[in-house]
Symmetry: D2
Subunit: 331 residues, 4 copies
């Protein structure tokens, strides 16, 4: 039984609280949030106590913390939690600066605490099954990975401004997925992008439509495309072309009902957004974290996975801004 | 908040316990089972007390009972629960005898207690969405309903022998679905069947493969087919042809992953069986029951729905045995 | 090289002329029609001569005749063609009377001429592939055959009146398909039907919506449903459930283009009607006929297949009218 | 009625001969080939005469020539045909050198003869329907075009060596499709590639796996990926993400038959290669050419379209070799 404290009671903190309730080997003990009402609300529905962040980090009755606070607070909390010997489950991105992530890695390694970076998509049943089949040899050697990822609607401009930009905020998930599926580290990064969805996003210095081209040392290729808008729901598709065949995972639709009439055959739109599409994945990642900590194995994805995705996001951003191919040094 | 007792701690009782745990407006207070170990096990994972069936039926701290015991015990428990003023959630079939179901109806009506017959498929998100779209006029008038329903594998022969036969045990769900989708009561029933899957089923006096043809007074048609075996998982499909179009709901597959190779494009098998396929429907039916009782509305499907499905099953059985068309009197 | 004459230059005669033009081992020599303009028009586009029906039947330079005239003329033409020693390709139905078909069988057998009944659907690439896979054991023993067949729109009332009724005019194709897929002769027939599409069809003494239930001696089941109207195009689907798996063939859509927007994912409607859907099948059946005659093998489907489908249509009609199960004697 | 001569009686010349036979407003008069047996064979099946190339180009009874000879002969034949006043239908690529294509453009413009570059995919019914729907506004403004194109198996190494390389030989079709769908000219080109399928292709100085990233002046993005090998058939997919929705066209499978068993739901492989997949497109492009010449309109795609696709292929090749982003000057 793992005793857990949640730092950050916003939307994602609430998701993790629900997951913890559903797990037999975890118990949510306390929650904290800079906004007292948010903490109180989550405490009420989850049966946990409200405590301060520092109290949670210092508590003897808490084995692990779930960090779901704003990105710029992760650094401090990771350091404190590591020193306090807590197992750490941290939302992505670990930090917008790879240097600071390296500091966190040092702190986590020095403390020897378990750490998991919350790349939820690896725990989606469909993507996980697809990756397992690659690993089991169903398509031979991986050659071309294609990732299409589109949000139903752009976030508020205020969010855009502090997001670190599309490559670091949105495509970060796809960079992790690329690494998950490629089976090799990318060594070159090319990127293009534009503000096609909303000029205000362009005025805020960001883009809303982008594509990236990655290569690995052995010549494997990955293509990623992103849009901040899709009229038909949250578009989350992956396909991998290998020497022996192709694997792909299509969208989850809102239902399997199909209507046929003079306009043709109509199926439902894709599930609206990440809370619907990845509800199972959120439960799965928490189960994996709790299970690993309880049994003493290493949780995955690791903090190094967090660093590598961030490195790719930085490279893509650089490639886009400087209009050049960015090569990544082997690490 | 509805306080609930579960009678019967087998597979389906466990499913309902899980559903109750997930609902905000219900609380599982006590469980009972003829096998003490079964009751103890469910109590342990659900946090409920073990009590005797009679103690649950007499308890002041229990508002509603979930009847998940063997079919032949339903009659007594319904009568006792009605007298005790409990809201009743009863597994299908209510009873294998329509006369005895009529007795239960009288008891329930006399007591004025809420009663819900657990036809879970009406709460499957896909079938429910399909039926809503019919009701909303998407395909005009219903003309032909086609229901294909196949289990992955037959039950043990011992189960077959006490099941009441395929029409009453398995196709009962499809009869309810037929009524749910037709929007009119069937008036004629034709049926054919054979033991094609396992001769032992035939020796036990039952069939494992069957088809039924229903008509309604206005000429609507329903075709149902059943098999006790499907190599590709639990086959649960419905389609409705109407004056303006067609609605259909396909199977839920184990994943959306598709593999393409020299053998073609392969998707996963259908979800294996009812616990997987209808996990959402089980939660949905319990939420509907609890919600209706808490807010004082009438739960649906009613006990009359239970009677009517059973009447169709009896008619199909008769049509098959006597090799004739059975007409149903208007009720 | 087979020299062919076409009797009947209507829509289906034109289809066969086009098929003959595309075949390397056939040559269309002459065409005949009761309406001179129709014959002249087909002669002009096909490069064939116009001759009288009798002249074609008597011609030394013609090896085979394609009978595409109205059903009530088939009987005479088959007899004359048989006497004249021509190979015969005859549109379905051979005749509306099974007694008269038996006469034709006698004439054809006495003359020893090749005869093919034009059940075009057996030559649809998809249905043919499906049947081949059954024959090759892909799904083990056939258990349940489901055939859904719907026209996009009803024919004119005048046509309905002389059609012999839905079972003989429309479902005749499905009866042949049932036999093609079941691998055993049906022994019982149950049927229901109504005029739901257009009351005028009911006033004309026919139905426009129907369903049939067939069984074979070993207990195999076939369900057929028909409608004279489908808003989404020509609905032609078949599925076969066997002891080891399921085979199904879905509709051919007008294109593979899919549009996703807020209304969901939309594919095209089904190909509109038989000329589009079965264009390949028409070519295939003529190729099979020509090939069989040229190489001296027996064309299939035979005239006996024509008789058996007609017998099933009669039985279904009787079952519907007399509201009873019709048993078919072994032949 | 257009009188046509075919230059080159190989595989593609035979395809065009078949198309001409099926068209009502064209007549194949003569064929020529450097290999006398090839010309004789095509003449025999098509009913055309064998003539020399020069005789065809000089003939008074020939209005148009179809150039299906090896690429390095196109230049001469185009010049001669233009001078002779023939309408010209020319296989892609017009030439491997854009300078020489510019010469051809000058010759064609000077002579004022109709010219069509045979980008057959524009005439595929599905891609054509997709592009029409873009043009009709179904998805608003085009934002991201994704083209996946994979051959079932690589060509012989000898072919590879004289092909001009993957970008000019294979991806040339996708560059034309990109222009067809983007609705704007690409202005930047990035490209990656490797020999993953067969090391011998790498030793021959070519690649067999590649991806390209294009942008247009307004920020539209196109991603193309190619492989010389796909175990599941000829993979030809296109999808276009726009401001209001998504359009995609999936592969044509060998049949619609689906088999369900313990391994899941299996559909057929994709149609094997271009002769199967684009049989309708070959007929369509010839019909478009003949129709345009007969009615005096301008055939499309034009020779300028041929030049532009070649320019993109050159740029991609350069981008790949020099590992840099290539910008295209406005033309």
């Amino acid at each position: 039984m793992l005793s857990v404290g949640i730092l950050g009671c916003g939307r994602i903190g609430q998701v993790h609280a629900r997951s913890l309730r559903a797990l037999d080997d975890a118990r949510l003990v306390a929650v904290a949030d800079a906004v007292p009402e948010a903490a109180a609300a989550l405490a009420a529905t989850s049966g946990a106590e409200v405590r301060s962040t520092d109290a949670i980090l210092a508590a003897n009755d808490i084995d692990a913390v779930v960090i779901g606070t704003p990105t710029d607070t992760h650094y401090d909390q990771i350091h404190k939690a590591a020193v306090a010997g807590k197992a750490i489950f941290c939302e992505k991105p670990v930090d917008l600066s790879t240097d600071r992530i390296r500091d966190c890695i040092a702190a986590v390694e020095a403390a020897g605490v378990p750490f998991m970076t919350a790349f939820n998509r690896r725990f989606d049943a469909h993507f996980a099954a697809l990756q397992r089949r690659i690993r089991d040899g169903a398509i031979g050697e991986v050659e071309i990975v294609t990732i299409l990822s589109r949000d139903p609607a752009p976030p508020p401009i205020a969010y855009i401004k502090s997001s670190g930009g599309l490559f670091r905020d949105m495509m970060i998930h796809d960079f992790d997925m690329a690494r998950f599926l490629l089976g090799e580290e990318p060594v070159t990064v090319q990127a293009v992008g534009a503000a096609l969805v909303d000029p205000a996003i362009g005025e805020a210095g960001d883009i809303d439509t982008a594509a990236v081209l990655l290569t690995t040392a052995s010549g494997r290729i990955c293509q990623i495309s992103n849009s901040r808008r899709a009229s038909y729901g949250y578009d989350q598709r992956v396909e991998v072309h290998g020497s022996k065949g192709l694997l792909r995972a299509d969208n989850q639709l809102e239902s399997t009902v199909e209507l046929a009439d003079a306009a043709g055959f109509r199926r439902a739109a894709a599930q609206y957004f990440f809370l619907e599409r990845y509800s199972g994945a959120y439960l799965g990642e928490m189960a994996a974290f709790v299970g690993a900590v309880v049994e003493g194995s290493t949780p995955s994805p690791t903090i190094l996975d967090g660093l590598r995705a961030q490195t790719l996001a930085d490279a893509a951003s650089l490639a886009h801004i400087e209009q050049r191919i960015v090569s990544l040094a082997a690490e």
